[in-house]
């Protein structure tokens, strides 16, 4: 015979789930009670026409070490509602069952908030007077073991609800006692409910203190107060702040610019509120990923929270909010470009990586931000604007190693070489070259390097030709070609340059020195694949006395020796780690020289 059975819920197990898996800390019971109180008042504002908004309030009375009473003057509950909403887990008074959605006026909607109190007590007492049945006060007593009672009460309370929680739960480490302290409760209210729309008071004996504030997120009007708020809640002396106001009403708040650089992988701590109730510190879902230099205090009424109420669901609205925040940050930059260029320089120099990533993504901010980007160059650090105004030819290289090798020569010649070897800089310098009118910004090619080094006065000289012939033969085994040139400073006898592929080839050779048979073939394959595109030159500076001596040296054997030593010396001065054969060559040749 078929029979219907009902699930039984182990309340102890549920509380364990809440405290160990759903909520990050027992602290959240304060948030849940504030939320219930706020929603009860909102409900009364909607349905009780005789209730003026200025009367609305939430009071939290703390009897030190003993109990906490949360009191609101919202709708209150009648008996039917008590059975329905306080005693059935998962049923919320704020949930519109017919329409299967939560009402937009309320913060909560899961019907599990009151349970969170069992994280700090084994006993909850709810006294309530419904505005619909104002002659009756009802008292609901719930135990952590899942039992509850309801009876009429003589308690003299106004329309609304008071929730009494007793300090009777044993905790392993004694931390529950900390919740029965007025200062600690006040701190939690401050943390969760700073922007709640109804006044929240703590009462400790005779002392009654208002904790929350009515705040206008308008940095134009309240700049100083906004900066103080940022310092207080986010703990930083920020560079600047600006208003975040969604054009579609999705959010409202303040964005703060960090005063120091941060890595793109650091998820900054924000203060994000849902319907004026604190939701999360984690803003990486709400802010564009490139905005890691920004921290926010932000309130939203329309984004959906997860059931733990500690994060947002990822949906289209969240994506839209993220795009809108990106646009507002872009507008802020535009405004600074017009009105406060100094601050924009400062922000871009501190947060260069973030700004570069914005430009690399190719949006409309490019032209605005490019002049502010700072590049390392042979003339020191220059901004994009400095480069645009330079007025002559500027070369850039995307190979950091090449920059390091060539920069000394450009410094001597007072010519501009830009290091575009860092993340995003290739895209940025390309863009800068495209918008440049006065300066001809060109990527450095082997021909440019060759051109920058002057022709040697020894070109065509038979002795110099002989040196080149011998050097070509010697350097062939290193896949390197010798070239005679004149350049400053005179003290540098040689200059070794390689392209990115040749740099990779060196790395492969380095690994091949140690590879076993299984990997040797693989490394050979990689090496062969790039062999055709590797380029390495050893420039011999005929202004240098050593090279001049070599030209006049008629001992071929000695010449070979010197050339190999100079080659290794050039590698060392270019900070290239030596391969085994190169180190060996250095030692062998020094030994040979000593034998002469």
């Amino acid at each position: 015979m078929e029979k219907d059975y009902k699930f039984k819920v182990n309340l102890g197990g549920m509380i364990d789930i809440l405290s160990n898996h759903l909520y990050s800390s027992p602290d959240v019971f304060v948030r849940e009670l504030l939320q219930n109180g706020t929603d009860a008042i909102s409900a009364r504002m909607i349905s009780d026409n005789d209730f003026p908004e200025e009367n609305a309030k939430i009071e939290i009375e703390v009897e030190e070490g003993k109990r906490i009473i949360f009191r609101d003057n919202g709708t209150g509950l009648n008996e039917e509602e008590i059975h329905k909403f306080l005693s059935v887990i998962g049923q919320s008074s704020k949930y519109d069952i017919e329409n299967n959605r939560a009402s937009g006026d309320y913060i909560g909607r899961f019907g599990i908030g009151l349970l969170s109190c069992f994280m700090v007590t084994d006993y909850i007492c709810v006294r309530t007077r419904s505005y619909k049945t104002p002659d009756t006060v009802l008292e609901w007593k719930g135990m952590a073991d899942g039992t509850y009672t309801i009876e009429e009460s003589d308690a003299d309370i106004a329309v609304g609800t008071e929730i009494i929680i007793e300090n009777n739960k044993k905790s392993k480490d004694g931390t529950i006692d900390d919740y029965y302290n007025c200062d600690n409760i006040a701190n939690l209210i401050y943390y969760y409910g700073l922007f709640l729309k109804y006044p929240v008071y703590t009462i400790n004996g005779e002392e009654k203190t208002r904790l929350n504030l009515k705040f206008d997120f308008d940095t134009e009007k309240n700049k100083e107060l906004c900066m103080t708020l940022g310092k207080t809640f986010l703990g930083e002396n920020f560079l600047d702040c600006f208003t975040l106001r969604s054009p579609t009403g999705l959010f409202n708040g303040i964005a703060y610019v960090l005063p120091y650089p941060v890595s793109a992988n650091v998820h900054n701590m924000h203060r994000i509120y849902l319907k004026n109730m604190f939701l999360t510190e984690n803003g990486h879902k709400l802010l564009p990923e490139w905005a890691f230099f920004i921290r926010c205090i932000i309130n939203t009424d329309n984004l959906k929270p997860t059931s733990s109420r500690e994060d947002f669901y990822e949906d289209e609205e969240l994506e839209k909010a993220k795009n809108e925040i990106g646009d507002i940050i872009a507008d802020y930059f535009e405004d600074l470009d017009l009105n406060n260029k100094g601050l924009l320089y400062k922000i871009v120099s501190i947060h260069s990586l973030a700004v570069k990533s914005v430009i690399a993504s190719g949006n409309e901010l490019d032209d605005l931000l490019l002049p502010y980007i700072i590049f390392h160059t042979s003339m020191g650090d220059l901004t994009g604007k400095d480069i645009l105004d330079f007025g002559s030819i500027a070369f850039y290289t995307t190979d950091e190693n090449q920059y390091r090798q060539l920069a000394p020569l450009y410094i001597q010649r007072n010519q501009l070489l830009i290091n575009a070897g860092y993340v995003y800089e290739n895209a940025i310098i390309t863009k800068l070259a495209d918008i440049s009118r006065k300066t001809d910004i060109q990527k450095l090619t082997d021909a440019d390097i060759d051109f920058m080094l002057d022709d040697s006065e020894f070109d065509g000289d038979p002795a110099a030709d002989k040196l080149l012939r011998i050097a070509s033969r010697i350097l062939k085994k290193y896949d390197c070609k010798p070239v005679l040139k004149e350049f400053r400073p005179f003290e540098i006898p040689t200059l070794y340059t390689i392209n990115e592929k040749a740099y990779k080839a060196r790395q492969i050779k380095r690994s091949k020195q140690k590879a076993n048979n299984v990997f040797m073939g693989m490394l050979d394959s990689f090496e062969n694949d790039i062999a055709a595109s590797t380029v390495a030159y050893l420039y011999l500076n005929t202004n240098n006395l050593i090279i001049r001596k070599l030209i006049n040296c008629d001992d071929d054997d000695k010449l070979s020796c010197y050339i190999e030593i100079l080659y290794v010396q050039a590698l060392l001065s270019g900070h290239f780690p030596l391969l085994n054969n190169e180190m060996k060559v250095l030692n062998e040749n020094l030994y040979r020289l000593m034998s002469y």
Partner: protein
């Protein structure tokens, strides 16, 4: 110096990817100079993990023989470092197969050696067979000396217990999902296997990123562009969040672009523009095949909307197509990215002796009214 000191001095706080890899490489050189081989071995492992997850894996494949050599020269550190070495080996094996430069025979030898190392260090063959079926599936390999079929390798894998070299729970679930999707082609089983991933119970560095993208790819290839786009958007959000500024994940970024190119062109274009300048230096053939194929699909569909030109910061400055104006003919871009993809497809198909990549490139997609081209 202890490990923490190397970290603080050379790579702590550097951004993921190339900056951090350079820092770790300098730390390895320093430890070598100090003959501090215990830390050399640890740092090699750190380097390979960083390069595998945040770059294109090329440097890892290059550096691993050095690591292996130092490891073999120092048996006193085997017990302590064997776990890191084996994970590194596992990662680089996964990377090496994705470079068409590596021949089929070299891959066979590498996998054989990986299996021998599993035996030598008393690990079971679960991770070995995982690599085998994954490789055979990704490259549509039919004749492989190490195993008769993808299904057989998977079966042998499932016969081995989980051990220290097994993927974490999220990776295992993602693997199973892929197997059901792409080998058995049973989407309901795959959805069930992915249940704990999609409900948020299982996750890791790359899951659910991979999982969403794989479902997107599956539905894309089974003519359901609406469902494919739904999964693609989910994958895009988290990939953007966690790997948006890295040149890794290009295979999945490419899959997303392919799907959205047929469904939501503006989003596909925006995502592509951003990634192109980050990733064009990625040298991994497999990754770039999917990324360039995504670009080809993008400009193919843009062309169908009769848009003639597109603005793009084009990083291939040496290519004749490059223009200072940043304005390009859509059809030229379509042709450019087709050719780039085709080059890679030919190289892989030559290596693997099949037509798998050319098939993937030239497959015609037609989603009819479902494709909302705008």
């Amino acid at each position: 110096m202890n490990y923490e000191e190397y970290k603080d001095s050379f790579f702590e706080g550097l951004d993921h990817g190339e900056p951090k890899c350079k820092g770790i490489r300098n730390a390895i050189d320093k430890a070598m100079e100090l003959q501090d081989y215990e830390n050399v071995l640890t740092l090699y492992g750190v380097f390979i993990e960083e390069d595998t997850f945040y770059c294109d894996g090329f440097q890892s494949v290059i550096i691993f023989p050095e690591y292996q050599s130092v490891f073999e020269q120092h048996p006193e550190f085997h017990e302590k470092n064997k776990y890191t070495l084996m994970w590194s080996f596992k990662w680089i094996a996964g990377s090496a197969e994705d470079f068409y430069q590596v021949t089929f025979e070299q891959l066979e030898n590498m996998y054989r050696q990986y299996g021998e190392y599993c035996d030598r260090f008393k690990y079971n063959k679960r991770s070995y067979y995982r690599k085998i079926w994954n490789f055979m599936d990704t490259y549509a390999i039919k004749n492989f000396s190490l195993c008769s079929s993808c299904e057989e390798a998977h079966k042998l894998m499932m016969h081995c217990q989980l051990d220290e070299l097994s993927e974490p729970a999220a990776g295992e679930a993602d693997d199973l999902t892929s197997y059901y999707l792409f080998v058995e082609k049973k989407v309901q089983k795959a959805l069930k296997a992915a249940d704990r991933i999609f409900s948020g119970k299982l996750s890791c560095t790359v899951v659910p990123h991979y999982t969403y993208a794989n479902f997107a790819d599956y539905y894309f290839n089974h003519n359901d562009i609406v469902t494919a786009a739904d999964y693609a958007v989910k994958s895009l959000r988290i990939i953007n969040r966690d790997f948006g500024t890295d040149k890794s994940m290009m295979k999945y970024k490419g899959m997303i672009i392919s799907v959205l190119a047929f469904y939501d062109l503006p989003t596909a274009l925006k995502f592509f523009r951003r990634q192109l300048n980050i990733c064009y230096t990625n040298e991994c053939g497999l990754e770039m095949f999917y990324f360039y194929r995504g670009a080809y699909h993008l400009f193919l569909n843009l062309e169908r909307t009769e848009q003639k030109t597109a603005r793009l910061i084009f990083p291939f400055k040496e290519d004749p197509l490059y223009k200072k104006s940043n304005v390009y003919s859509v059809s030229k871009l379509r042709e450019f990215f087709y050719n780039k993809t085709k080059y890679i497809a030919d190289r892989f198909d030559e290596r693997d002796n099949n037509h798998h990549f050319n098939y993937l490139l030239n497959k015609k997609y037609d989603f009819g009214d479902a494709a909302a081209l705008s």
